[in-house]
Amino acid sequence: MTTPGDALITLEGLGKTFLTDEVETRALVDVSLTVAVGEFVAISGPSGCGKTTLLSILGLLDTPSAGRYRLAGEDVTGLTATERARVRNRQIGFIFQAFNLIGELTVEENVALPLTYRGMTVTEQRERVADALARVGMSHRLKHYPAQLSGGQQQRVAVARAVAGKPAILLADEPTGNLDSANGEQVMALLAALHGAGSTICMVTHDPRYARLADREVHLFDGALAAPAGAA
């Protein structure tokens, strides 16, 4: 059980190296970072600095080449693919730049998707989905398909999908990157509201306006943290 102020994420000397044929690319170098429960952290930096790689490791989509990663007190560095999937499903909510809704599923089914992987009952799924969609103001589009929604609406549905499972942390990768400014503002307002309600958020962005909404901004440059980082 974690309480506000406790460390939710702890990275110690994290590194990631990609090997392609004979070329070795060091995407992350000795990254140490702590994110507290209830904190909103913005990760920024120029293109190719390792922002997305860092978020992939934080989201257990990828594994580090070096260092340790503790999530909610558990060392998740050496988990198997199946164990990582289980942690992702229960502890992490994702909001992607490209929304990543599944075209063949309705809004309701898309939001329920992560819950189905938990083996949750249909009744409970429905309750969670209704609640999540109500929070993002999309309850009226339950049976629509993604192609029938605007970009901003799709991202709001994606946010609902991320929060439906009540994860420990929300990871957002350039959540406004595919949106116009009006829709971008709306989505950021939504994230701010979630944060206000107690959600822990890590957001990758290179838009300073949105980075300023976070409690703390972390800069990456050539795979390393460019400024001292610590709890806010």
Binding site: L61, A85, F96, A98, N100, I102, L113, Y117, E174
Partner: protein, 806 residues
Amino acid sequence: MTRPIRAATLVHAARMLRRRPAFAGFALALVTVGAAAATAILAVAHATLLRPLPYRQPEALHDLAVDLRQSARVAQRSAISARELVAWRGASRTLAAVGGYAPTTVAVTGNGSAEAVAGMLVSAGLFELVGASPQLGREFRRDEEVATSAVAVISERLWATRFARDPAVLQRTLMVDNEARQIVGVMPARFSLFFQPADVWLPMVLSADRLRGPVRTFSAVGRLRPGVSAAQLATDLAQLEATLVQEEPDVYRGATPVATPLREALLGNQRATISILLVAVLLLVGIGAMNVAGLSAADAVAQQTTTMMRLALGAHPVHVMSLRVAEGAVLALLALPPALAGAALLLAAARALNPGLIVGPEALADLPVIAYAVGAVAVMGVLTMLPAALADARLEIASLAGAASKATGTRRERASRDVILGAQVAITVVLLVAATLLTRNLGALLDRWPGFEQRGVVVAPLAPSRAARETVQDRARRVERILAEVQQVPGVAHAATIQTRFVLNENMQSAIDIDGRPAEAGSQLTANIRHVSPAIFAVLKTRLVAGRTFDETDREGARVVAVVNESFARQLLAGAPPLGARIRRANRADAPWMDIVGVVEDVADAGAGVALGPTLYVSYLQQNTPTARVTVVARTPGDPAALADPVRRAIWRADPDQAIESTLPLEALVARSVAEPRLRAMLVGLFGASGLLLVLTGVHATTQHAVVRRTREIGIRSALGATPRSLLVDTLVGSVRPAIIGLGAGVVLAVPTVAGLQAYVREPVRPSDAPVVLLVVIVFVVLALIAAWLPARHAIRISPTIAMRA
């Protein structure tokens, strides 16, 4: 705008295929197999349905026969008599020419060892009637249609093997059935009349003394005069027949001449089968092409980035499409030689299983058939790559930035793919069930006790002797001499003779009278008849049920005796004690009454599973005729094949001029008698196996296609917490579900199919066959799961980081 495919494009296409060896290999294998099957069946269809008969103006040729109507509803098509042939030939106003023929076997001696060869009795002018000419000499004249004419026309093969292609062969003679015949003609290589191979043609005897009586043994062909209709021909023949009725009412009353176009008469019964096979093969080939097309569509998705790069760099869509078509052309070029070889193998296998087939591998030497093969590979090659070409043409450069496919496929696309796969599975299940039951039936036929022990027996049918001067005793002594020599062969335990060649459906029947049991008015009792030597039942190990078998005392001058089988006793004696009952051959004033002295079990000597019914055995030493065929059978505890040559030499020691048709183990003859069910089982099995292969390809392609198309979706699901196992199961279920639905439909469709099969099998389908069918279904499901699992494994290797890409 179109752009021709140039050599450079083909080279480029070949290089691109080489870089995708798995796809190229798979596509090549399927194009080859599909084209081989299509070419083989098209070769058969060409020879039987499309190609004109190899005769001059074949459409004018008609087969002539008579309908001896047995009842108001049952027609019985029959050969014609010598008198009908002569009458029609001489007086028809609608036929320009009429010819008769009758296949036979003759013994050829001199200029080499004695040999039984296929021969044919033909009327004068028959070769000219069909438009054939001897390459040397002439054909027969009318004045040679007499018993004393000693002439023969020989085949090119006989000319080569017996006369070393002697140009002066027309001055030489050939010993045919111990008679010297002057050779008057040599026919060209590969010549045959009406698909019946022959090495010797002899003139029919149509002299006045042969023109009376009820014997109908000739087939006949007539050439219609120009402008004559079928109705006019029928009227003309009916009038001619009416004249014969007036002259010999007992023989010709009730006989109706029937004229049928020759193609219909020769090939009509094969047309339906071949048409069904043609449709089945084309269907399978179509399905195969569709499945490979599914693969190529997946390949197109995988190659999307490369293709869009080409478009971005200025390639015209037609150029991109032509590259795909060129890949199809390369596949076709590579597939042509193995497809031709495969078609030759299929045709050779079919003929090996059923020597009666008129089409063999030599059909592939025909230019049109080669053109079919080229067409088949070309169509399959192009069809294979067409979906990829069309997919490439629809690509938009604007989406190059996100080249990794974001599409997950429309519901409609997926539904149509599922329906096609389900239909394939249903058809395949029906074929597999049918093939399994036909194979089981074949096994049951071979396992059933035929009334004799087939192992350890060698069989040597002798050519009939036409020596007219031989008496019953002469023939008996000759058989005894032959058996004495064969008995001396080391390894021979027993030897005997029987009047059968163990050939499918070859049977000899005789009308009989039973003393004290007159037949009902208007009917005649008949039974199969076998002239045998005394030891026959010991050689065949046939069980004696009652009484005794023949012995050495049952010969001319002694009490005339007979042995019957159980069916005879049961059906014709109706429960009366068989031993002591008296029977005789009917319609012969001099036929003696025979006392039944023994009953043996039923012997199926006319093919495995062919029930003969009542059979009468008489002692060859006691009664025989020139036409009663003699087949030597010898039992050995060792390998019967090793006895073939010694037995042949022993027969020739007894009679150097005796022609021997063959010397084969009885097991081989029994196996040959099931050639047709074997061929049927093989064909259906082949279709079933092809269907299975195609379905597995379809399942594989569908799964692969789904994985490739859904790469991003799978990555997203993985990012949202789907475990590798759930991704695998999800992918497998998506691919196998339509297969399972098709499986259910196939099982339902198999029920009427199995019911329909009953008409084609000699052993009935039993409920005990159900577990075998169930096993087939289980094996199918397992194979389908494996076919889906192979590409589905890739789903769990898709990195969830793909979801992070914009």
